[in-house]
Amino acid sequence: MADLRDLYQDIILEHSKNPRNYRTIEAANRSAEGFNPLCGDHFTVYLQIGDGQIRDISFQGSGCAISKASASMMTQALKGKSMEQAEDLFQKFHHVVTGKDGAPSEELGKLAAFAGVSEYPVRVKCATLAWHALRAALEGERHAVSTE
């Protein structure tokens, strides 16, 4: 089961059981939904943006351990970051879960735990679902985004 542990690292399991920032934001000025029609996973990401900074970020919804942990750790990583930094982190996270560019960037911090996902191609969509919703929210899109 060693290889399964590459995917289900302790930090991922812990966040899936106790997701952080799992709430709505009353004063949110951006939000977007993300769907994975293949498995029914569904998240909403809420943002409160001021002066180009992410003042608050949260999420709600249902999904597998990978998608929920990814959403939880994303909210932790992005709070207080600028919109540009968030976009940059999206790119770096996407690279690490798809196995591009070799070693994970240091800026990813704890998010590097998702490197194991690259060995499970069908799970990449789980890991990136909340991130796609984030991006839609950052771009101000009102409609839901889908992984398909």
């Binding site: 089961m1 290889d3 399964l4 542990r5 289900y8 498995c39 029914g40 990978i66 929920k68 499970y120």
Partner: protein, 422 residues
């Protein structure tokens, strides 16, 4: 010359007495495969079944020695291909106990069969204010074609509710029926729950209000004897690939007088008897619904698959699968936190379940590393998932080649899933 149909007649390697599942497994080359270094435990038969060597050989042999277009040439190969194609139709007719092979229309699968009925019979017979009755346990393929029709015709879709065990609420069903009911479209067996619906009773009730009945037999045909005459349904559909045949071929059974009265489906070659720019005359059923060159090799593969099933005996397969279902149910219920979704009194070999605190998707990934193939997700039955208040289930579905040992492997695998998430 050896013909595809001759090869297909080679009997399954089961003994004459008893049900020797280990011998039968040798007929399916893929079952010897390893996945992640573990023996394949294939429990996704409701999605598609594996193919016995006789089916693979029948298709290969067709392309090796018979390939030609049908209903056209006077040359020898075309005659042979036409003969094989029409023999396959007769084989399907006998398998369903239809009165006449003309009642068998070849389509791509159950989905196309339902769409064909919606687009031909439906558009000609359903009007404003009419009602179509489906159930809460339908596959999307038996919901969406009717929604499209209802939208076009301003008709209304009515839904039979399902109880907590996953059984149709028959008293509610009977209340939905009335003079506006034009069609009842219901699964013979639920793909997500395994529930066997009381289809004979459904047909009788529908006939009381002169409604037509379409039964989606995709999950019934591989597991039980189906007799369309005894059922007296108007339409019955199934897919070849779920009954050990190839993908891309399926069957629509329709009562002859209905098929004759229906407008054609797609236009093209083979579905006409004569074409001029002034007036085109359509061929009779079933050719009227089979425009273009059909999936000849698919029909030959399907016939071989039905012959394979017949040679074992569908009743013996059903008995084996029922024993396995009972054993698998017992093993799964021993696992802490496991809840079965679908506990109908009459069930086919489908074990749909959720594990407390663990998403089905994660169950599927971990079992896959153990070589165990199951399906996870909403099973194209999102309204049913909503009914049970869950986003998805994990589903193990049985076939004729599954074993008690594989049920044990599933149970052991699920314990590993719990360990990962402990």
């Amino acid at each position: 010359m050896t013909t595809a149909t001759n090869i297909a007649q080679s009997l399954p390697s089961s003994g004459k007495t008893g049900y020797d599942v280990y011998s039968l497994r040798k007929d399916f080359p893929i079952l010897a495969a390893k996945v992640h270094g573990k023996p394949l435990v294939y429990l996704d038969n409701a999605a598609t079944t594996q193919k016995p060597q006789s089916v693979i050989d029948a298709i290969v042999n067709y392309y090796n020695s018979e390939n030609a277009n049908i209903h056209r040439g006077v040359h020898t190969l075309s005659e042979q291909a036409t003969e094989s194609y029409e023999q396959a139709r007769k084989m399907v007719g006998r398998f369903l106990n239809s009165a006449d092979a003309r009642e068998i229309v070849f389509v791509r699968g159950a989905t196309e069969g339902i769409n064909l009925v919606a687009q031909t019979w439906g558009r000609a017979n359903v009007g404003r204010g009419d009602e179509i009755v489906v159930s809460a346990m339908e596959h999307h393929s038996n919901i969406v074609p009717w929604q499209i029709l209802c939208e076009e015709k301003e008709a209304r879709l009515r839904v039979v509710p399902v109880n907590d065990a996953g059984e149709l609420m028959m008293d509610e069903f009977e209340k939905l029926l009335g003079p506006k009911t034009k069609l009842v479209a219901i699964a013979h067996v639920s793909n997500a729950l395994g529930t066997v619906n009381p289809v004979r009773r459904i047909v009788e009730a529908a006939q009381q209000v002169n409604a037509r009945v379409l039964l989606d037999g995709a999950q019934a045909v591989p597991h039980m004897s189906v007799d369309v005459c005894a059922l007296d349904c108007d339409f019955y559909v199934f897919s070849g690939h779920k009954v050990y045949g190839p993908t891309g071929i399926g069957v629509l059974y329709g009562k002859a007088e209905l098929l004759d009265s229906m407008p054609p489906y797609q236009g093209g070659g083979d579905m006409i008897s004569s074409v001029t720019f002034e007036k085109t005359l359509y061929n009779r059923a079933p050719q009227k619904f089979e425009a273009g060159t059909p999936h000849v090799s698919g029909t030959i593969g399907l016939a071989a698959a039905l012959q394979y099933v017949n040679a074992i005996g569908i009743d013996r397969i059903a008995k084996h699968e029922q024993e396995l279902l009972a054993y698998g149910t017992k093993r799964l219920l021993e696992i802490p936190g496991l809840r079965l979704i679908g506990t109908a009194r009459e069930k086919e070999g489908i074990l749909s379940f959720v594990l407390e605190g663990i998403h089905p998707h994660d169950i599927g990934t971990i079992l896959d590393r153990e070589g165990i193939a199951i399906r996870t997700g909403h099973h194209c039955a999102q309204p049913l998932m909503l009914r049970f208040g869950i986003p998805a289930t994990a589903r193990a579905s049985l076939g004729l080649y599954n074993t008690v040992g594989e049920m044990d492997a599933l149970a052991d695998g699920l314990r590993k899933v719990r360990e990962v998430f402990a």
